[in-house]
Structures are given as C-alpha cells and as structure tokens.
Symmetry: C2
Subunit: 124 residues, 2 copies
C-alpha cells in the first residue's frame, strides 16, 4: 500500500504545537496546492462548500499506540498513531486553478495532501 | 509514505457492487479485527460510541481522476481515486479483545484497516 502525494498544504502553522487541535477551532486561511498530475481530478470541486482533506502528518510519532499506559492511539485523535493520516473538514472559500483557498485546515505548513472529497456534512 | 495495515474488516460484502454506497445506509453487522501488534492501541476504545474507520479500498481504480470528462475524483466520493483511502463512521456495538463488532461499515470483506479514531459527531 503506497500513497501518492496529490498536493501540498500551505498554512500559517510551522510546528505541530502551533496548529490548532481541531481545524474547525481556527479559521485562519490556508491554501491547498494540487500537483499538475492531478489537476483534472479537481473538476467540479468548486461546487463543494466543505471538503474533507486527508493529509500526512509527517511530524507525528508512529510508535505511539504500542505503549500500554493511558488511552491507546485508536482511542485518541492525536496525530501520533501507527498511520499518521489526518482527516480535516475545511470550508472552501475560493478555487483558482490548482489552488484552493480554505478555512479550518489544521495541518502544519508543507504537509503533503493525499485526498480531497466533498463532505456530506461537517466531518470532524 | 508507507502504510501499516493495523487490522482487517470482516463484512457481508464480497464485491464493491454489493457494498452500500454509504455505510450509514446499511446497518449490517461487521467485525474489525485488529492485529496483535496494535492491540495496545485499542485501550479505551470501548468508550467510543462512534468511530471513524479508515481502510484501504484495494479493489478501487487508482487511475480515476486523471481523465477529463465529468466530475473529477476529488469532487466525488467514489472509492476510485488516486489514493483509495475510505473513511467510514461506524457504530461500536461491542468490543471483545481485538475484535470490534460494528454497524455501518461499507468495506468489502477482507479490506485492510489503517486507522480507527473516535468520531466527534457523525462523520460522512
């Protein structure tokens, strides 16, 4: 199972500590830049008001959850988990070619984006 | 970016066509079996009423979204997308060791599970 980065997130957050615990708690503007190879996959995205963004939390601790004290990784929403797949619902403010201006993205600047999909309702 | 399968889904659906388009539309019982290596990560999971399950849609078409007619992969919720990461909110009925009995899982039988996390509210 290998992942293909489809884009990159540009956000105001340089470190995990700077990022909000939940994206919806902070409406700072962010930008998602989709790579050329996946430009066609964006057709129709401007119709979405909210999108679910899946990104790779590259600074996460992947050994978390193999310890035995406290709640396990699967009982927590921390990015520290065996597969650091972060899921965040964002509001789409604008789409300009391969760049999406969004609100509510909790990713660290430079995080690689794995997927976008329309959100049926607020996903958290 | 490499993924670690943390478990496997046992469901009544043998093919993608047999699986519901959205898990919440079908409450057939399913089971998630977490592998031994990740057993500790389940600590506290029984407190969750709903969990978000991330799984690998291994039968999906990963070339989808590179074509140019109709809505692109990022504007659709089909499993056919560059990274076939499926996100499904399930109801937790019972936890028996490393086996979770759940409702609402739309995965094909045998799908590899990548992550579980408590759902803050219904995620779709």
């Amino acid at each position: 199972m290998t992942l293909r980065p489809v884009g990159v997130a540009h956000t105001p957050y340089d470190t995990p500590d700077a990022a909000p615990h939940q994206g919806f708690a902070d409406d700072a503007d962010a930008e998602i830049e989709i790579f050329d190879e996946y430009a066609d996959a964006l057709a129709g995205i401007a119709d979405a008001i909210r999108i679910t963004v899946v990104y790779w939390a590259h600074l996460a601790d992947r050994t978390s959850g193999t310890e035995s004290d406290g709640p396990g990784a699967f009982a927590r929403r921390s990015p520290d988990r065996p597969n650091p797949l972060s899921i965040c619902v964002c509001t789409v403010y604008d789409v300009d070619g391969q760049r999406l201006e969004v609100g509510g993205l909790d990713a660290v600047d430079g995080s690689l984006v794995l997927d976008l999909k329309p959100s049926l309702q607020t996903e958290r």
